[in-house]
């Protein structure tokens, strides 16, 4: 299905619009309050961007530092160049652990490397422990948002799903009762898992620690009880030390949900220590490149590696708010997804995404690490143009227009003729159907030109 077809489906789905508006609207309002209560937030954004740029410039160094410290703490570090390599490493580790079932705590990287699919192929039962991912798993769907993967679902849809799939479903038709149903259903499955898989919000180089943040506490319940903890993390998740992570954590929660911190922030350094009462015997950390090292070397994409996956850009995007996340077609939706998806899955199949943006700049304004998302999207448009991926009609149309723009006398003739032609189509100042611009007049009227271009009238001596 093309992007355009997915957009049509999304726009036709009035339930989707309601669902997206409820969650994204709430997130937008809460973020605004959090930022208002933090007057130095603008400077804090600048600092957060500088921290990430510093890391990206010295990524190799920090990765080696992280690896050495993680190994010293008893963890095993694995490296994967591609999504497939990463998924294979995880599946092999599960097999080696003799895992029948794994508890998985939501991570977008896991989605990126196709982990749900790879585990299914290997015949390993997967227990999604994040409530939204659990909903998605039961529905057999894909996440539509990086923070609220089930954002596209209404309470009625969730209710029907739980009634059909939970052993002991809710009776009362409330969201609290539905969450309770999931709690009952998931707890036993979580505690019986052989392997726990999580992502990492941050990798702390100077101690080899990984940091996870959740509001549900599902990450801890997923990775503490099993014998083996596997972490998958993008190589850009690294920060030099805990104080850097603290600064980023202050930005992350406020930008995502408007909270000062998420409810649970946990740093794990290696597996269970001698004497510890709980924790895994083995800890494996899979460091995933999947195009990131190439992005670090690409001036037009490097800044995207600053991203801390807060979701603010999509919550504030007029396009996302209308079409939701599935329309974007990739693992990552919204503005950050429109930048990342062509880098991960190729430009030719995803050139539409770069154009699905009004360039209004709101995403950049709310980004906690100041990623110039419109500029990066423009970069994809330029690459698409250079590589000849833009439609011929577009190229020819703009080419003709450019010829005129560069020749003022020709331009005056052409604009004068256009004005006269448009006025012929007008009735009482408005044009209801315009050839060559049907996309405009399908939905709105076009004001007719006043008559006579400014330049022509000015040349004739009109001044007022």
């Amino acid at each position: 299905m093309s992007f355009g077809q997915r957009v049509d489906l999304a726009l036709a789905d009035k339930v989707l619009k309601v669902a997206v508006e409820r969650t994204a609207g709430t997130a937008e309002a809460k973020r605004a309050l959090a930022v208002e209560a933090f007057p130095a937030f603008e400077d804090a954004r600048t600092r957060a961007a500088a921290i990430k740029d510093h890391v990206i410039a010295h990524l190799g160094h920090y990765l080696e530092m992280f690896e050495a410290n993680a190994i010293a703490a008893g963890a095993q570090v694995h490296w994967a160049q591609t999504a497939d390599e990463a998924a294979t490493i995880v599946v092999d580790l599960c097999r080696k652990a003799g895992a029948k079932s794994v508890a998985r705590s939501k991570s977008m990287l896991g989605e990126e490397i196709g982990l749900p699919h790879a585990l299914a192929e290997a015949g390993i039962e997967r227990v999604e422990t994040d409530l939204a991912e659990h909903i998605i798993q039961l529905a057999g769907e894909r996440p539509s948002h990086i923070v609220w993967p089930a954002m596209h679902k209404t309470r009625e849809q969730v209710s029907a799903l739980f009634r059909a799939k939970h052993r002991d479903p809710h009776v009362e038709e409330t969201i609290a009762a539905m969450a309770e149903s999931a709690r009952r259903h998931l707890r036993a499955e979580m505690l019986g898992a052989d392997v726990g898989i999580s992502g990492a919000n941050f990798l702390i180089a100077d101690t080899g620690s990984i940091c996870t943040v959740t509001n549900e506490g599902n990450a801890e319940l997923s990775v503490v009880p099993p014998r083996v903890h596997i972490v998958t993390a993008g190589i850009e998740k690294i920060v030099p030390s805990l104080p850097h992570a603290i600064h980023m954590l202050r930005m992350l929660a406020r930008s995502a949900t408007g909270a000062a911190l998420t409810q649970y922030t946990t740093f794990y350094t290696g597996p269970k220590r001698e004497g510890d009462r709980d924790g895994p015997e083995e800890m494996h950390i899979v460091l995933v490149d999947n195009g990131r090292s190439a992005m670090a070397a690409d001036a037009a994409l490097k800044e995207m590696l600053r991203c801390i996956r807060c979701g603010a850009c999509m919550n504030h995007c007029v396009v996302f708010r209308q079409v939701g996340g599935h329309a974007y077609g990739g693992t990552y939706p919204g503005p950050m997804g429109a930048v990342l998806t062509p880098a991960l899955d190729g430009l030719s199949a995803n050139r539409d995404l770069a154009h699905a943006c009004t360039m209004n700049g709101r995403c950049q304004e709310v980004c906690p690490v100041k990623i110039p998302l419109p500029t990066l999207l423009r970069g994809w448009r330029e690459k698409s143009w250079r590589e000849g991926l833009e439609p011929v009609s577009m190229r020819q149309g703009l080419g003709l227009w450019r010829q005129a723009v560069l020749r003022p006398r020709l331009y005056r003739m052409a604009s004068g003729a256009t004005v006269r032609a448009m006025r012929l189509l007008a009735r009482q100042g408005w044009i209801a159907r315009l050839p060559f611009a049907g996309a405009w007049t399908k939905y709105r009227d076009m004001p007719a030109p006043e008559g006579g271009t400014f330049m022509a009238q000015y040349a004739k001596g009109r001044r007022r």
């Binding site: 600092r47 549900e216 949900t257 922030t265 269970k272």
Partner: protein
């Protein structure tokens, strides 16, 4: 060539001698939300009471009053006097007569007690670390999470937490109860773990 070498090979860059100093400079004077009015204890209490933490607070003069404080809490919630206690001598040395003490945490644990290493006034966070006397799982399984915090262990900001991550398997901050907004953005408490967080400050 291994994947490791291939990835690192693409990321080679000269490492300046003062890289550590550069990194440290990046977090010198990190911006923080402004401090609200009141003493650290008052600010911590206000944070606990706020909607995102939504914990309750009790204060006692010294640790010997803890069993009574717990009894009060359980009675208020009409809960049985059954409690998981971590193997922490500061707790086990107290007089728990009248309670049934669980030495292992149950999958459906109703109430668990834990000692926080620190509290943070800035965020209302409680800080924990795993070791032989402090398992982690009970704090995520229990429905009612009762946390003991010495007033002297309260710090102003997150940076003030005294921590070396390398020293413990897990270092974690609890800033509220297990909550979710995954269905229509509506906040529900007790998604997987604690639905109630109760802090008893000592001293």
């Amino acid at each position: 060539m291994t994947a490791r070498d291939a990835i690192l090979g693409k990321l080679r860059a000269p490492v300046p001698l003062d890289l550590a100093a550069q990194a440290a400079a990046l977090v010198a004077g990190s911006e923080r939300p402004p401090e609200t009015a009141g003493s650290p204890v008052e600010r911590f209490a206000a944070r606990l009471a706020g909607p995102s933490v939504s914990a309750t607070l009790d204060r006692i003069d010294d640790a010997s009053g803890l069993p009574d404080a717990v009894r009060r809490y359980l009675a208020h919630h009409a809960l049985p006097a059954t409690l998981y206690l971590p193997p922490d001598s500061r707790l086990t040395s107290l007089d728990w007569r009248g309670f049934r003490i669980d030495e292992a945490v149950a999958a459906d644990q109703m109430t668990a007690l834990a000692v926080a290493k620190a509290g943070v006034a800035e965020s209302g966070s409680l800080v924990f670390e795993t070791d032989a006397s402090a398992p982690m799982l009970p704090n995520f399984l229990t429905l009612h999470h009762i946390v003991v915090l010495a007033t002297a262990d309260l710090v102003e900001t997150i940076e003030d937490i005294s921590v070396d991550l390398a020293e413990h398997r897990a270092h974690y901050w609890v800033t509220g109860v297990s909550g979710t907004t995954d269905i229509e953005g509506q906040y529900v408490r007790g998604a997987h773990g604690p639905r109630y967080l109760h802090v008893v400050m000592v001293g």
